[in-house]
Assembly symmetry: D2
Homo-oligomer: 366 residues x 4
């Protein structure tokens, strides 16, 4: 219902603006008894932190998370967990030029029309800084999943930057943490470095596609419709700012397939059903099959660019705008840990929902 909350039983509400005193996440419904420290969450925040290389905004935030509630003696209590991150680097003077002008492709104008608020210091709630709160919440979800689904892992990576996609035949899980783009294709990483450097120098920006894969997901999570695992994962990704498209398994490409090509054939393995392929992205009829759950989402290019664009002022006068702030040439890079976090939160939520309504899976095979 609420505008800033997601989840059914594991519910996360994020709060905070890019240039206010702090931002964070209020987490309700976490199981009790989960080992949890600030350091565990900090690990994931550090992955996302801007300013780590020349490809992300030079805004430098410590992004130190503080646990204000819900944890006692490093164990979750089952009560709300409040995670707070102070904003420290708020050089708002950079943004002075945009107080009166709307950036084309940016939330400025609709935000103003709806709320009558023009937070000239930055993007307010629509700033990418909000995603720090998601990453923190995802850190909690990962710890809770450890006990409930011990084999489950969540890994995000970039598969396309602008027009340049990865070579799937070169996919290497171990490569992902080795390059600034979180991509599993070493050659792509090298090419993207040059490409992005050019964009950065020209003050331009570009979009990207992120894929997030969860391995070790138990069969049975989700529901046939509305709360389809596809729906909740898709909504989670679409709720990230700048995301304009989402795919499960074959995604939009499923439209091009015949029924023969799309059907993942089934055989019986030692531990249950085995599928010959994974066009379904690990979800059949809204419910997880036990295969890898695969989600992709597209992040549009940052609207803050140095090339002048035509726009209008708050008083309706025609003008041009150049945005000089510290921005990411490819915000998709920082979206990788965000996508991972959303996947972790949604899967934990569905593990709890499943246990609530069903207990254990009721149908056995073989």
């Amino acid at each position: 219902m609420s505008m800033n909350t997601f989840g059914h039983l594991f519910r996360v509400t994020t709060w905070g603006e890019s240039h206010g005193p702090a931002l964070g996440a209020t987490i309700d419904g976490c199981p009790p008894g989960v080992p949890l420290t600030a350091a565990m969450i900090q690990h994931w925040l550090d992955m996302r932190k801007p300013g780590q290389n020349k490809y992300t905004t030079q805004r430098r935030e410590a992004d130190e998370v503080e646990i204000l509630s819900g944890v006692f003696e490093d164990i979750t209590t089952g009560t709300p967990i409040q995670l707070m991150i102070r904003n420290t680097d708020q050089r708002s003077k950079d943004y002075g030029d945009i107080a009166e002008k709307f950036r084309p492709g940016h939330a400025d104008i609709t935000y103003w029309q709806k709320y009558g608020i023009r937070d000239y210091r930055g993007g307010g709630r629509s700033s990418a800084r909000e995603t720090a709160a998601r990453v923190a919440a995802g850190g909690v979800a990962r710890e809770a999943l450890r006990a409930l689904a011990p084999n489950l892992t969540v890994t995000g990576y970039m598969v396309q930057m602008g027009p340049h996609g990865i070579d799937r035949s070169a996919f290497d899980w171990d490569q992902i943490a080795q390059n600034p783009f979180w991509t599993p294709d070493a050659a792509a990483a090298a090419n993207w470095a040059d490409y992005l450097d050019g964009l950065r120098k020209s003050g331009s920006s570009v979009g990207a596609i992120i894929e997030v894969t969860a391995r070790g997901v138990p069969a049975g999570l989700g529901a046939p419709i509305y709360a389809k695992l596809d729906t909740d994962l898709g909504a989670a990704m679409l709720s990230i700012n700048a995301v304009k498209g989402v795919e499960i398994g074959e995604g939009m490409g499923a439209a091009t397939l015949t029924g023969e090509a799309n059907a993942d054939e089934i055989t019986m393995g030692p531990d249950g059903p085995v599928y010959s392929s994974n066009h379904a992205g690990g979800i059949l009829g809204g419910i997880s099959t036990g295969q890898d759950v695969v989600v992709r989402f597209a992040v549009k290019p940052t609207s803050s660019i140095l090339t002048p664009r035509r726009t209008i002022t708050k008083s309706g006068e025609p003008t041009q705008i150049i945005t000089k702030g510290r921005h990411d040439p490819c915000v998709g890079i920082r979206a990788v840990p965000v996508g991972e976090a959303m996947m972790a939160c949604v899967l934990l939520d569905h593990v709890l929902l499943h246990r609530g309504q069903i207990g254990e899976n009721r149908g056995s095979i073989g």
Copy 2:
């Protein structure tokens, strides 16, 4: 929260299985005072009804809707509206072969694993029949929107069938209702007819992409994150069975664009901001701009095909399966009115939410 409900203030819960006595929609939160009759809803159901031409399942359902509550003297009362559609053509013998075998690419197997239920008569909740309830609810939403957003229209159409996309330069709104595929491209309609006929005869099936456009949407609907209009529209479409991908505006293609290309430049028109293009799909920062709202979704091919596929039985034995039931070679055709209905429901919901929290837009331009 709930597994079979969507919407915040205008809440729709659908119920019913493909082969039970009836199915329908329970609608809570409809404004009072809306003129509403069964005939108004029937109009939209008739558009979706199967068996109208050789390209959709030959199952013949009357799909007659009955209003059981919430309407008095042809006016909504503001109390729950119950819409019921009796199932009349339940020839379940056709499905006999699948009682023990799981159809690859179908919800059968996960449904069984989770619920321990094998409704051998049909797909249960995961049957496309459930979408009749959505279409009926969409009919109510359309009538309610008439008073609240009088210029708003919602139109769905098919833009791709299998590998064959439409020619955007041949787009003709008036063509949409003239062909069995609801496509705006007359030449595509002719080609698809041949293509689909071939598939039908060979017992195969194919996917499709549907686009739904809402024109006349007021600026200001939505929220910066989580309840982004993109999120709620995307979730609505992903909740339809067989949908595996969704796009707003440029969608996945936004990844390939530079910031310059993606930004819709703004000028001032007589009635407010005017945009030079609509890469954003009518939604900036999660909030509607006043431009056309454009959503696309991919429907995978039906898994019920005549070509044998390898699978297993409930007891884990390897086998093969052919599905002989009455199925659609391209279920995407019938998804067109379903996508329209979801768009109408989501937009009405956001009109009510906006009025609840904000009243009227608070920021004026010019």
Copy 3:
């Protein structure tokens, strides 16, 4: 969130007006695998049915429930259960006099003001007929509880009618089903019969207090605040029309006690903690203790009486009103099975919530 729904995981939405074609309950989130037939639900509806003796309205409704979905071969499937009850006796001519006048103490006037609807045939959603849908839903909850909390029983009974309370020392569980007032005090039943007969003949009405006790409730259900078991039970009872007060354990009387008197002392029994008393009504800090859960609620007297009362018409003219319809001199009688149904629904919901977040109770004693 929704206006006509209650419950978190076991969610019940009721629909239907007193004089429309039908009413019912849409139940989402019921566990799969629960044996369920219409006859099982009918059993509880028959208890509530009006017209069974001279103390309840002479309106005669068959109140036959039909299961339209969610059950296959007499087993719940885990999908939405739709329960429908057709209205059969809709003699609306009796109500003609009230089409233009507002009944003092009745929802007529506020309903009109808010919705602009004057359903002159009866009370619309505020009619006591709505409670049939609750009783039907409660029947489903009871069957689901059988597997999840096998020792749990729910029993409602009347403890006060007008100024006449029961003698607690004469409390006899077996007496409850033996008299038309569902009271555990045989002497009270006899006295109330005379008292109510007098009221009925004079066209008057009177209020009542109902108590509902759940025995065999496992310890651990609920939450410290907001979702306190007290809160959810209290809200459930207050949501019944005509209910204006609710108490858990000592209830309002807790105000008069000292800390010494109110504290239920604890000793250790063979199966866990044993309490010396039950002032808390089986709920400490919002969480069930394992003792009997005890809730009471007050039902105000029917506003439909034969003594003329001053009121106004829709056009604001002063007038008087007498209500000649078929009404209950003490609607509290029919509220007994309704209170039971609400208790069953809330307890099942909390059993599922508890399992979802916690699994099994985590703290052991002894």
Copy 4:
């Protein structure tokens, strides 16, 4: 849905334990454009602050509220408002004795059973300290109501302490702020001072009844059932810890009335309907009438008392317990501003809901 959230559109989630670093409230759905400063909220927190006189706990908390988000240049932005209050006085050594023993009448034991957590420093989430977050949220609701319902005022006061009720004929609104018990009856205040002093010295405690009245409530708020204004107000009060009963208007006493006595007769005044009395507590059929909305709730006596009570330890051994911490002899005193805050939040929520579904009241009289 969530365990620590209340409200439909104006949603408040409180977080924080009595002895953690901080506590607070996350508020989602507040309208934009409301003037708001920390000082405005502090005003209400200061009313509730413990340690102000000898009748409340001597724990001294600064209870200084910090606004971390949702407000820009002293105006709400429509995004989540985060209110944080640091815990400063956490002398937890006083509680040492209760680490192993359960306090009879306290949440200790059920909290342990459910969560496996024994926060020996204090009551965790079930501590009365949580109510500071409610008061802060109520401060926000009051400011938002100023614009939406300018004549609306909310006033709480104590009407009973232990066995001693007020004299309704001596009711004086101006007296309420003049005595430490927030009671409108000056003579009662004097008597209660002596009575409570005796209790305090003997280490005992006592319960109380609080009444909260909202004046200037517009007609039309609420719904016929489930979201009855009675239900939401009742649930709000029952969600406060130690509350065990709630009444609207006549409350439990409605059971003793006849239909003639209970009906508030209606005449026509210059501004709309005028009622001869207010047995209904300003709510008919779940919807506000425009009269004063009157809610009462009972607070049980603190379980922390100096008289030894029999109990058990975590290992199940029988023992006795005396609680020496700094506690309130009558926690009901501090519940007065809490009840006011809940009333303000619920009314604001219903103002927004009403506007969302209905816009303006649709039925006029006269």
